[in-house]
């Protein structure tokens, strides 16, 4: 089902269709052996990286007693729930129930799994397995993510574009902004900047995007 607030883009015929991937976080924000909460439409996600560096996005709920898996801990290639230590591996399959160490958990006990892939330092997620990988942005590097308390469309418009991927000029830099719809009418803004930007230019970019956030939020508040 297509969520009404799903990101949209234009297809060849000019119609709006859902994009295959949604930007959810920056690669650097989820280092090896860690987990963090994320969102995809109505779904809460646990986005986590194994010790060897593999990224995954799962439903943020332990099937045992409903604890958020994004609060869990990573050992090796497993994500474990912080409540009772149930461990999950490849494909979300339960591999360990510490209260019953003799039990080999059945294949049936699984955490629902989403697609996750990385490109240009951005973690993208999708509900099904998209046909093509997420977009690369040669010459650009992931810079920072912000949450904006305003509708995705308003954030996109402030950047002079529409949809999920917006090319813009901010503080004199040619950047790409990725817009992620969040719940409660908010948006995630994931920013990519030229790879060779010097620190002073990036400081200016930070200031510019924060000013943009304040402006959009103020406009949203005034309209409410």
């Amino acid at each position: 089902m297509i969520e009404s607030d799903a990101p949209v883009t234009l297809d060849d015929s000019g119609d709006t269709v859902p994009t295959d991937w949604t930007p959810a976080a920056l690669s650097d924000d989820i280092p090896a052996a860690s987990a963090a909460p994320g969102q995809l439409g109505a779904h809460d996600l646990a986005i986590w990286r194994s010790a060897s560096g593999r990224i995954a996005a799962w439903a943020d709920r332990c099937p045992h007693r409903g604890m958020r898996l994004s609060h869990g801990f990573v050992r090796g290639e497993r994500l474990s729930c912080i409540y009772h230590g149930w461990g999950y591996g490849e494909g979300g399959r339960c591999v360990r129930i510490p209260a019953h160490p003799e039990l080999a958990p059945p294949e049936a006990i699984r955490v629902p799994v989403f697609s996750a892939a990385e490109a240009s330092g951005v973690i993208w997620v999708a509900e099904d397995a998209p046909d093509s990988p997420p977009p690369e942005f040669p010459g650009l590097a992931a810079f920072r993510s912000l949450q904006v308390a305003a509708a995705p469309e308003a954030v996109a418009a402030a950047l002079g574009g529409t949809g999920t991927v917006i090319e813009a000029t901010l503080a004199g830099l040619s950047v790409v902004a990725l817009i992620q719809p969040l719940r409660d009418g908010a948006a995630g803004l994931h920013l990519l900047a030229p790879e060779d930007s010097d620190p002073a230019a990036l400081d200016a970019l930070s200031a510019a995007v924060e000013a943009l956030r304040r402006r959009v939020e103020a406009a949203e508040e005034a309209a409410a």
């Binding site: 039990l103 080999a104 059945p106 049936a108 006990i109």
Partner: protein
């Protein structure tokens, strides 16, 4: 693998109870075969690891909200 017959007794008079048990068995990866079904009594054969049969009992004891399970009696089926 262990095979056991569960006799589930209580106020099960809801058409939702049996499908609920089937769904729960599937979520646990426990094999299931219905032996007998009545509004106050369900006899079901389950097959799985002993800890999973225990888990099946835990689930059945609470069950769906419109059923009340009074007792679950388990009997080992030998030869399995």
């Amino acid at each position: 693998m262990t095979r056991e017959e569960f006799t589930i007794e209580g106020a099960l008079g809801t058409p939702l109870f049996l499908p609920w048990v089937e769904r729960h068995a599937a979520r646990l990866g426990v094999g299931m075969r219905l032996r007998d079904s009545a509004p106050e009594r369900l006899a079901v054969e389950f097959e799985g690891a002993p800890a999973l049969l225990d888990a099946m009992e835990m689930g059945c004891l609470l069950g769906p909200i419109d059923a009340w399970v009074e007792t679950v009696v388990r009997k080992r089926i030998p030869g399995a």
